[in-house]
Symmetry: C2
Subunit: 450 residues, 2 copies
């Protein structure tokens, strides 16, 4: 059975799903034992569905013969990924299992960075020459040995220098008049990607053009391989996971949650937590400078966290929306002014909306408990003005900081949320203390000391 | 030129990219004018690369004849998406442009929810009968008219009741012995999806099985259409964007940032901001109950935001990691106990780490400014114990709440972050006030009233 097109019935699928769920917590020898219980083809299917990291772990633990057979099941780009995920000591042992031709191709793939087009592509694809007739081409393809390899859905037409001249799908080949030459029926304006193109930039091409595979060219226009849509599904999923983790102030885990050791997890979370903690000590200093007033007008103290978190929440909303839009290419650097105007209006509106809620809360508590004394309206206005200020400020900082980071060639997702949070906290306090000093403190008698 | 395999040279690509960037801010008549400046095939390509929403907006603004021609360029599943994105009033006008056969198929597609397999699939695909020979099958496919339709990479073998019997790729068909019958060479254990399967569950099948297209079956095993990998690239991208936006407390925008009206944006952000604001007023109440003590021991006040945000940050880290792992299927409901144990150890470690930083900060300030008086060690321990408590509590709540929401059949991404934040804030205050009352207040003389 051709491995890449090998498919499973739903029932088998379920057994394998259970095994897959238990996989992360099984010891290496438990894994091998449970695979032995499966029929050979199911065990192979299971192996093929594992991630490259898991495949590498398993291969190293397998007996030599099975190891060789299973490594050879993999398409070459996947085999290269497995070698990349093995520990340095195991790499040569794995490479030694490949035949000479495959070894050369895998070594070539290993030279690419994992996240560029060259690192994703499969170097094997169906090649035709422009001067063949359709009939000759079909015969030629039928004569070629059926490779245990990923099925590619286009035939690529190369000249004698391996330069890409055109493309046609197997289906187009099949339905073309038999006597025409390939160069007469092939499509000549082809979307291609450069071998060093970043993988993030490849995904939009697939979805915009409805293509299932893209040819990868080197700087001289020679065709090196093919990236296919199902590889990109993984890439898109991984990139999104990384961005989500970074937005929450965690370094990218690079592996499923349960497979990351607790120590590693702590390390990846500790960095940003410590930076945020140090940022947070700035709020302690800021409050420290104002503590005399706060202890004399106690009610002002109670509202500090509310004001601060309003700024932080609106800031993180704006930052997240802009970071994602930048990542998807919906926004470009020179859109910053348009974004600024939108967030100015939006932030002001949201601030006014929240300030009304704040106003109502003060009035309601005054009416229910009378706890704010004669000057409750001054308190209500202090809270309201501060909320408008911090929400507006949070939205503007949150939306513009990602542009600044991108301008500085930094990844907006990495650094943004923590900075926005700390920035909004400290400036939020300033805004609040400002309005307290302006509207409330000079006009309201202090709480008498007990 | 076959539209779905139509491809562009890099140069043309660049011009279109610029037009695409300006597109969101152009008026409908500007859009039509600038498309008129392009050669016809480039204008068509541009139209095909737009999102369904943009295609719908454009079609409605076009003159009748172009509108009909362009709508008919679309594969039927995309045409159905366009109709779905048009305003109710325009839908019938658009449907009227289709020929009878397409109209029937598009209406059938419109009956599916947009986010289930049936709503993603293309109802046209290459069908073979099991009793054909390979030669007959190739002849049959060559005789069929070349449809302006998305190329499908497998041939599906159906019996007389339209039940799926097997599958084979065009390439396998081409390389099979000419005289064999299809049922002898086809693959019979096929991965299929049910027509009402949620789109989130489809993506993992593509990446695990390295498949480029999956057949969609109804409840009786009859084949209804095909979902292909390049559609799933979009789906994965959209689902990730939704989750990212929800995690930041924004309702899913469902459109690119610049294309959402400011009013709509404000509406989608206001809901969670208001809920968080109301949650935040609980902190005001909590602090209000403690304000007498805080005004007598002013230094305790200064550390409130730091303690609260430490809990919130670790909670949002845990919540995000678990929510993403649940979304990717890396975690299942019954993993909660394993996650609990991990977060218990991880949260404790992180808490101890941050508490050391907190301890150092207090000691350093005492040494530099002497500002905490004789009982600075009591303050240092109050801060340290509280930080351990809130970080541990934040990690546990943040990691378990997503499981609870999933158990209640709610989307963990939607509600989790805001709840975790508010929960951590209020309980963080309680933990802090608890340690203040235990370690600090009873043993330290209050700041004398001025």
């Amino acid at each position: 059975m051709d491995r890449a097109e090998g498919q499973l019935t739903p029932e088998t699928n379920e057994v394998l799903t259970d095994l897959k769920a238990a996989w992360p917590v099984m010891a290496p020898d438990e894994r091998i034992e449970s695979l032995k219980l499966l029929p050979e083809d199911e065990a192979e299917e299971f192996f093929l569905a594992l991630t490259s990291r898991e495949q590498a772990q398993l291969l190293v633990a397998l007996p030599h013969l099975t190891r060789r057979a299973w490594l050879r099941l993999l398409p070459l780009d996947d085999a290269a990924d497995v070698v990349q995920h093995a520990s340095r000591g195991d790499r040569d042992a794995l490479l030694a299992l490949l035949d000479d031709v495959s070894l050369r191709e895998v070594r070539a793939l290993l030279a690419y960075a994992e996240d560029e087009a060259g690192g994703l592509m499969n170097p094997r694809f169906a090649r035709l020459r422009p001067e063949m007739t359709v009939d000759e081409a079909i015969l030629y393809l039928r004569r070629q040995a059926q490779q245990k390899d990923r099925p590619i859905y286009y035939c690529y037409v190369l000249d004698s220098e391996q330069k890409l001249k055109g493309v046609l799908s197997f289906r187009q080949l099949l339905t073309a008049p038999a006597a025409k030459r390939i160069e007469e029926v092939m499509i000549t304006d082809v979307v291609t990607v450069a071998e060093d193109l970043d993988q993030e930039k490849i995904a939009p091409l697939f979805s915009a053009k409805n293509l299932v595979a893209l040819p990868v060219l080197d700087g001289d226009g020679r065709m090196k391989g093919v990236v296919s849509a199902e590889d990109i599904v993984d890439v898109v999923q991984e990139e999104a996971t990384e961005d989500i983790q970074k937005l929450a102030g965690v370094e990218a885990l690079d592996a499923p949650y349960l497979q990351v050791s607790i120590l590693e997890m702590v390390r990846k979370r500790a960095g940003w937590l410590a930076i945020l903690f140090l940022g947070g000590t700035l709020t302690a200093s800021a409050i420290g400078h104002f503590d005399h007033e706060l202890s004399l007008w106690k009610v002002l103290m109670a509202y500090i966290p509310l004001i601060m978190s309003s700024g932080g929440n609106s800031g993180s909303q704006s930052a997240t929306l802009v970071i994602r839009a930048l990542a998807l290419g919906e926004l470009r650097l020179d859109d910053w002014w348009r974004v600024f105007k939108r967030e100015l209006i939006g932030g002001l509106t949201l601030g006014l909306f929240l300030s009304c809620i704040g106003m109502l809360r003060v009035l309601l508590w005054q009416w229910l408990f009378g706890e704010y004394g004669d000057h409750f309206m001054r308190l209500a206005f202090t809270i309201s003005f501060s909320v408008v200020g911090v929400v507006l400020f949070g939205s503007l900082v949150g939306s513009l900081l990602p542009f600044l980071l991108r301008l500085l060639k930094l990844d907006p997702a990495t650094a943004c949320s923590p900075f926005v949070a700390t920035f909004c906290d400290v400036t939020g306090l300033m805004i609040y203390f400002g309005f307290c000093s302006l509207i409330y403190i000079p006009h309201v008698p202090s709480d008498l000391p007990p």
